[in-house]
């Protein structure tokens, strides 16, 4: 299975180096390509999905691209999969390495309970069958960041199999059509992560950091059910959200690119069982060294770990020490809310469009922001949704900021929306206030409104007088309106607004004008 991998790494991992692992990390059957740090320091690992082309049927010239994926997610646990050394990020090199991690002779693996639970939770969330008995194997290859010369994984009998990942694809003209798709989960297995190697070409040396060696990974294998790069991306995003909701992995992944040209397939190019890497300089994929295809991992059962046995309420041995056994049913009962359920609740509770619920969940921290605004405002959910998804998110994207970096806090936005809600300001004034808030000069919405004199005119009579004055001053426009020109009224409204220095609500202006015109 030469399906390449998308690594989902952990948060806060800000790498100062531009390129870690370079191109030498090709030793796995599905190697990681170049890694490059993006803005905000999120790690991005550009992997290529394994794209197979189905043979065209007779008479057809169409190739159907089919994408399968292997995803490695680091398990959120205090210690490593088989040893007690801690799991931390940005620790000094080789400071979190136990004797076992360094492969000192005579050391033995001891299974971490939390990692097993994480695997079971993930398996249940993905509708898998949890294997009550699973086995560990050794996968052999030589590489500097793999001290024992083998990785302990689950090749023969993994912990979970035959599940499904449901993800939703927003299609259609306005991306308003929500299509549900399912990718089958072939299996989930527990395995060790390797250390990190840094190549110093200048001094012709390789530096090895074993802090990550032995950290627990969940490998999730998806069948080739996705038919294009975008689908694959969406599926992975959903998996990421699920893992984060479960807390089994931080799964903090930045953008990645999957670009496989169907053109090449159509030109009869050689594909299949080849893993390609993304060359960021060339901006395209290139074939990697072919060694991988010839790699024989000499899988062998791990003799130091007995079979992993899990129980459910029915099969739990009487009087078993709860510390020593894992009950699948109990884990199922305690599963946190999954993203699909959260989205459904949002739609039901706030009447928002499904595609909006997707956006809210897809952006890190946005849902929480939204919920915090909702707590402090009386404005309608639809209004809040619109402001959060359009205005706030728009500003964030423009400056490539994360929600956590927003200069506008939920409280500030709530206050602004309250002003809008009780018609203290117009919506265009509100936009101005928002822009001002974005400058982050420490002023509250109320202060800004006051300083810039953005309050709406509350005096109805004065407004009526102004409308009257404008109508008197522009008889031609009035004529146009009476003639039935639909755009003329807007011109009138515009004139009134100008006179009021935009301190009148256009809707109210329109009402007054229409009343006058009618009379």
């Amino acid at each position: 299975m030469a399906a390449p991998m998308l690594r989902l790494c952990c948060p806060g991992r800000r790498w100062a180096l531009a390129c870690i692992d370079g191109c030498s990390r090709h030793r796995r059957g599905a190697p990681n390509g170049c890694t490059s740090s993006r803005k905000r320091g999120q790690s991005s690992v550009a992997q290529q999905p394994f794209i197979t082309a189905q043979k065209p049927r007779k008479g057809e010239h169409e190739w159907a691209a089919v994408v399968g994926l292997e995803i490695h997610a680091q398990i959120s646990s205090k210690s490593k999969l088989f040893s007690g050394s801690q799991v931390h990020f940005a620790a000094p090199p080789n400071s979190l390495v136990s004797f076992f991690d360094a492969s000192l002779p005579g050391t033995l693996p001891v299974l971490n309970r939390r990692c097993v639970e994480a695997a079971v939770m993930t398996g249940l969330a993905l509708n898998c069958r949890i294997n009550k008995k699973s086995l560990f194997d050794r996968k052999h290859y030589f590489y500097a960041d793999l001290p024992a010369g083998y990785q302990i994984t689950q090749q023969r009998l993994p912990i979970a199999v035959n599940g499904s990942l449901v993800y939703s694809f927003c299609a259609g003209k306005n991306r308003s059509q929500v299509i549900n798709k399912t990718a089958r989960v072939k299996q989930i297995q527990l395995e060790q992560d390797s250390g990190k190697s840094l190549h110093d070409d200048l001094r012709s040396q390789t530096l090895i950091d074993l802090n990550r060696a032995g950290v627990g990974l969940l490998e999730v294998v998806l069948e080739p059910d996705m038919s294009c790069g975008e689908e694959a991306a969406t599926a992975v995003r959903e998996l990421q959200l699920i893992l984060q909701a479960l807390g089994t992995s931080q799964a903090n992944m930045a953008d990645y690119e999957i670009q496989r040209q169907i053109n090449e397939l159509e030109n009869g190019g050689e594909i299949l069982n080849e893993t390609r890497s993304f060359d960021s300089k060339l901006g395209c994929t290139i074939p990697m060294r072919d060694k991988e295809g010839k790699q024989d991992y000499r899988f062998m059962p791990e003799p130091n770990l007995p079979p992993l046995l899990l129980y459910d309420t029915e099969s739990l041995p009487a009087g078993a020490d709860p510390q020593q056994v894992i009950d699948i049913d109990r884990i199922r009962e305690q599963l946190p809310e999954l993203p699909s359920v959260t989205r459904e609740k949002l739609v039901q509770q706030y009447g928002m469009l499904p595609e909006h619920s997707f956006t809210l969940l897809n952006e890190v921290g946005l849902l929480e922001f939204f919920q915090n605004v909702m707590k402090e405002t009386r404005a309608e959910p639809k209004k809040v949704t619109s402001w959060v998804l359009n205005t706030l998110l728009g500003f964030l994207k423009q400056q490539n900021l994360a929600v956590s970096e927003s200069p506008v806090t939920p409280s500030a936005l709530a206050e602004l929306l309250n002003l809008l809600d009780r018609k203290a300001i117009s919506s265009s004034a509100a936009k101005q206030v928002f822009e001002e808030l974005w400058r982050n000069e420490g002023k509250t919405p109320a202060q800004i409104v006051s300083e810039k004199k953005l309050e709406l005119m509350q005096d109805q009579e004065a407004l009526e007088q102004l409308c009257h004055a404008v109508m008197e001053g522009h008889p031609q426009v009035v004529m146009d309106v009476k003639k039935g020109n639909p755009r003329a009224i807007n011109k009138l409204i515009g004139l009134v607004r100008k006179v009021t220095l935009s301190r009148a609500d256009p809707t109210v202006i329109k009402e007054i004008l229409e009343k006058k015109l009618a009379s």
Partner: protein
């Protein structure tokens, strides 16, 4: 004093007839005098004397830690010892000083034992005389007139034992009498959280009952073990032992272990496969030998491993990797596992039919002189010498070699008892009865030393005959 049982020495220490320091120094003196035997790779003189000093303090206060307090012990050099070089007799680990103690070493030290040093072995325990895994506790015991015990797999922790074959290795115990072996086993047995293959059930302390009546016992004699290569002396002693049990009222029956003839080949496949895997970590990067080549990582690996391992080790790695190749895995590795299951089942069947213990030879003959020994290659030697011992490793059963008598040449010959899984106590009880019956002569070290001194001067290695 050096020829006594553990209990006797322990009593002497308690009563103050001898101090731990005196005992330690006597031991060190003999080690120095027998240096030409090359039995020790590392002698930890300073460590031992310091431990002796501490033991002495405890005895003076009357706070001895137990039967092992102040007792000199030696540990094979494939057990990890903190701060003391551990080499597995290989170039690959020359200079490697581990930062931790193997669990069994720690347990012995916790009981106050004195660590004299690390003893020699075939590189990575892969010689005919070497595998901890196919009989290398029982074989040397038989050749040297000692008791060699291989406990049940899973009873004693392997944490810190540098592995050869993880699924067969067991720390073995070598002592002068069965009782001593039981004492040491009592200290070592039990669950270790650091070793997931140790059993969880609590282990009761090993107190061997005195067996006087063997009439309720059933002794099994596996017929497949009567091979043509068996020396006539060993065969006759085996027969004599069987008759001994029978004459004392035990039931002695012939049994069959039909898959015996496959066990050598099966063992070879599984052993080399696990070895290939276990040796993968020796790459010169983290510890141990590293070559001087730094052209590339791959070149460094190749040179390091060529320099670090001898032919035997390299040969086994290559064989093992061959068996583990995708195209060979089913036909070799999996097949061998199936055969292993059959071999293990042979024993289950026999024990289920009412047999309590099996009685077999330990070795084909007495110890062979060096010049003859080196005529055969390692593989042939292993195949020959492990023939009686390695099935017990494959099946995970407890087995003990007990010295019976001296050969015509004056060299020791021992016989082996194989017991049911986790019935180590019963096994040792029977072994102790047997030991009492045969009264094997205790080696007289002082006479030996006198005999040796002339040899020492001439710096020749020769077989040494003992006087009865």
């Amino acid at each position: 004093m050096l020829g006594r049982t553990l209990r006797e020495v322990s009593a002497a220490l308690k009563q103050g007839h001898i101090t731990p320091t005196e005992l330690c120094q006597k031991c060190l003196s003999i080690i120095k005098k027998t240096k030409f035997l090359n039995a020790y790779i590392t002698v930890s003189e300073e460590v031992a004397l310091k431990q002796a000093e501490e033991s002495e303090k405890r005895y003076k206060k009357g706070h001895s830690l137990g039967d092992l307090d102040g007792i000199p012990i030696a540990v094979k050099d494939n057990f990890s010892t903190s701060g003391i070089e551990t080499t597995c007799a290989s170039n690959m680990l020359r200079g490697y000083v581990p930062p931790y103690n193997a669990t069994v070493v720690q347990k012995l030290l916790d009981q106050g034992a004195l660590l004299m040093g690390k003893t020699n072995l075939d590189e990575f325990a892969m010689g005919a005389l070497g595998s901890d895994t196919g009989g290398s506790t029982r074989n040397p015991a038989a050749h040297c007139g000692l008791v060699g015990l291989k406990p049940s797999y899973g009873l004693v922790s392997r944490h810190g034992l540098i592995p050869l074959v993880n699924s067969m290795d067991v720390p073995g115990i070598l002592t002068r009498c069965v009782d001593d072996a039981a004492i040491v086993l009592g200290v070592l047995a039990g669950h270790d959280p650091k070793d997931s293959t140790t059993i969880q059930d609590p282990v009761k302390p090993f107190v061997l009952p005195s067996l006087t009546d063997v009439s309720k016992l059933c002794i099994g004699i596996p017929k497949e073990y009567l091979t043509p290569e068996l020396s006539s002396e060993v065969r006759s002693l085996w027969s004599k032992a069987a008759n001994l049990f029978e004459s004392e009222g035990a039931k002695v029956i012939e049994v069959s272990l039909p898959h015996t003839s496959y066990s050598i080949v099966c063992y070879h496949v599984l052993c080399t496969s696990e070895v290939a895997s276990n040796m993968a970590r020796f790459d010169g990067l983290e510890y141990g030998h590293r070559c001087d080549i730094d052209v590339s990582t791959e070149a460094m690996y190749a040179a390091t491993r060529r320099e670090g391992f001898n032919d035997v080790v390299r040969g086994r790695i290559l064989s093992g990797n061959f068996f583990l190749l995708k195209e060979n895995y089913e036909n070799y590795f999996v097949k061998a596992q199936k055969v292993r299951r059959l071999i293990a089942n042979d024993f289950v069947t026999v024990f289920n039919s009412g047999v309590d213990v099996l009685l077999t030879p330990t070795t084909l003959s007495e110890a062979v002189p060096y010049t003859e020994f080196i005529k055969e290659d390692n593989r042939t030697r292993s195949a020959q010498d492990d023939i009686f011992t390695q099935a017990a490793n494959m099946a995970g059963l407890p087995a003990v070699s007990v010295p019976m008598a001296l050969s015509n040449q004056g060299l020791p010959i021992g016989l082996q008892f194989i017991g049911r899984a986790f019935c180590d106590q019963e096994l040792l009880t029977i072994a102790r009865w047997f030991e009492k019956q045969v009264q094997f002569p205790v080696i007289q070290l002082q006479e030996l030393m006198d005999d040796c001194s002339s040899v020492f001067e001439n710096e020749k290695l020769a077989s040494v005959s003992l006087k009865q």
